[in-house]
Symmetry: C2
Subunit: 408 residues, 2 copies
């Protein structure tokens, strides 16, 4: 017997998160009274400038960097584009080489940018990953040469939830070539993992506020002092000449407030995510036949060992059915989830992440990503687990490839 859903159940927090009402409240002064242009000199502008400064200090506190090491952007994609192009062009200008290393499972904001850089004459190595999505540190180190100017490896994969061994990767790269700049797309890691840039050792780190209960349209790029970086968006002298354009003061302040809340409440939030995630990781295969967990594999013997998987991510591939019909049926049943990245919705190609992990194309088309968040409850997860099997078996009964159908 399936209980009725008490409300909509949102299980796609990797796509975006609701704006925390406390964050909106923190933003309100900058949407009402403190609306001046922070570059101006007069009193109205100083309120806005103080808001920017305070936001910069807050985020720097969480990243363990200096406030001036942060460049505010319009989001994760801009941060990634700025990091890669900015570092690549600066290094070429300095005659330092033209080799870039990244992984095959990066977000398209990284991969489409490295493709554009290839067109401009850069040489790019795409690291493979193992069946759980992990890069191989020795493969990475072997790939680094004297002309390797940039490495970009994401912190948490947005589809499979794989947590890359970032600190180890940075050490391996710097051991081989200490001048190589290391960028990480940490968009999916904020609020889930420690962001201390010195522990990680990275030179560039991308963030997007709307992934951690902040507003859409705002992000940041951390830049380690003395990292050569050509500005990309040109114009006014904002962000110390590193990113032109009147600052999105309310958005930046909201980003800082939401990041602060994420780390103030870090332990309770991530414990909550982990609890719900594990119910999904173990519960789905218990209730549905012919399903595979994608990304780092849970072990019922050692569930606590799942350190290599983001606390909020449970992802699967179903045999014999495609992901999209499952999502549509779940949506009708009150559950929001996705088959992969929101940025590639509607694409007919199977996920580049899953295929890089060796998931066969047919199976990769049956993907479902669940990413839990602050508002989810055990009851919601229970309802989901009760609802899913019926949906899957109904869809399979319509599938020409489903063995039980062909047998009947």
């Amino acid at each position: 017997m399936t209980s009725a859903p008490p409300e909509r159940i949102y299980l796609d927090h990797a796509a975006t998160t609701p704006l925390d009402p406390r964050v909106l409240e923190a933003m309100m002064p900058y949407l009402t009274t403190a609306w001046g242009n922070p570059s101006s000199l007069y009193a109205e502008a100083q309120d806005a400038r103080r808001g920017l400064d305070s936001a910069r200090a807050t985020i720097a506190g969480i990243l363990g960097c200096r406030p001036n090491d942060l460049i505010f952007t319009a989001g994760g994609s801009e941060s990634d584009n700025l990091a890669l192009r900015g570092a690549a062009w600066a290094a070429r200008r300095a005659g330092r080489g033209d080799h870039i290393i990244t992984s095959a499972i990066e977000h398209h904001a990284v991969l489409h940018t490295t493709e554009r850089l290839e067109q401009a004459g850069y040489r790019v190595t795409y690291l493979g990953v193992d069946g759980e999505g992990f890069i191989d540190i020795s493969e990475l180190q072997d790939a680094v040469g004297d002309d390797t100017i940039l490495v970009s490896v994401m912190y948490v994969n947005n589809e499979a939830g794989t947590v890359e061994p970032l600190a180890e990767a940075v050490r391996a790269v710097k051991e081989k070539n200490r001048k190589t700049v290391f960028h990480t797309d940490a968009v999916q890691a904020a609020g889930i993992l420690d962001l201390d840039v010195d522990s990680l050792g990275v030179d560039l780190l991308s963030l997007a506020a709307h992934k951690f209960y902040g507003p859409k349209g705002v992000g940041a790029l951390y830049v380690r002092p003395r990292t050569p970086l050509f500005p990309q968006q040109l114009g006014g002298a904002q962000e110390k000449n590193r990113r032109a354009g009147t600052e999105n003061v309310a958005g930046v302040f909201g980003m800082a407030a939401s990041l602060q809340l994420a780390y103030d409440e870090f332990d309770s939030r991530t414990a909550h995510y982990r609890d719900l995630r594990d119910r999904l990781l173990f519960g789905v295969p218990e209730r549905v036949p012919n399903v595979h967990v994608t990304g780092p594999q849970p072990s019922s013997a050692h569930p606590e060992a799942l350190e290599g998987r983001a606390a909020n991510n449970a992802s699967f591939c179903f045999e014999y059915i495609e992901g999209e019909p499952i999502l549509i049926a779940l949506d009708l049943a009150g559950v929001a989830c996705s088959s992969g990245s929101a940025c590639t919705t509607g694409s007919l190609e199977p996920s580049h992440v899953l295929t890089a992990m060796g998931v066969p194309e047919d199976l990769a088309r049956g993907s479902m990503r669940l990413t839990v968040g602050a508002s989810n409850t055990r009851d919601q997860i229970e309802y989901f687990l009760e609802t899913l099997p019926g949906i899957v078996s109904r869809l399979r009964s319509l599938s020409p490839t489903w063995p039980e159908r062909t047998r009947s």
Copy 2:
């Protein structure tokens, strides 16, 4: 006798404008309930998608274009950067040439981008302007050759308020080379002048919401169908693959709401601006000696003929004093204004706009820009006109170059 200011008097609406409370109200659903990722498939996402679509239709209605001709960006600087680089790289790829024409008085978002394009091998012609800031149409037409891929001329100059003869300029360019792409930075024109892209004839047009009582951190680029444009921010498939990144739904919706209000109330707003502007244009030189109006000159005989000047802009240069001390003294007296572009505040160089107009360097350093807005009143302007002379004469009495000082 000087009356006390009833409140702060903000005369820098070209730097930024307050967010209209009606616009904030329109944005609120997208900051609270409709927070889904518009690229996703489920119900939560559809509310956000509908908000984006509705905003696109609203703006398209005002520009007289199709909704799909608009690309949402993070602001005017991104729009300018995207327009110039996107058009330049697309034209080079098509083998169409490498010549670009712009004017010497553009915003730095244009000029710093053309400088970067020069480094990449493009040839750039910088058109001069006359004493009032107008480009010369025949000089423009003479500069267009078979290899001219792009012309970028702003609609309204942000410092001098000059309204360039855009429709005429487009005709002159297209007559000579119909393949040349014409971009205009219309950031200062929105809410002040007609934005119909077909009357203007432009192929690309940049907007920034925070200049017309919308939110900071959001803008748009109009792109005429079949205009070759390489995307700049790469990643997801948003904006039909022309600008990656999760959309700033609340910001975009706010931009549309504020643009709609600006054109719903166009006649009354611009009449109000013009009334206050003329009081300043005529009143300041009446009360202060040795002051020059910069930009298009008013004529007391035909004030109604001032069509070539933005309705909200009154700008001046004072002999014998620098602009910054005036602004500081005015700030203390309750008035917010600027010496030029907010984006170049703190620069020690005299304005490139004023020097291009032939204003001598010393005089250009004594610049003051007043840009009126919806909340300004005749009483505020009267207070300003009463307050200014005392400030100017006090500062001049301290100036070593002031003749009355050296005479005493």
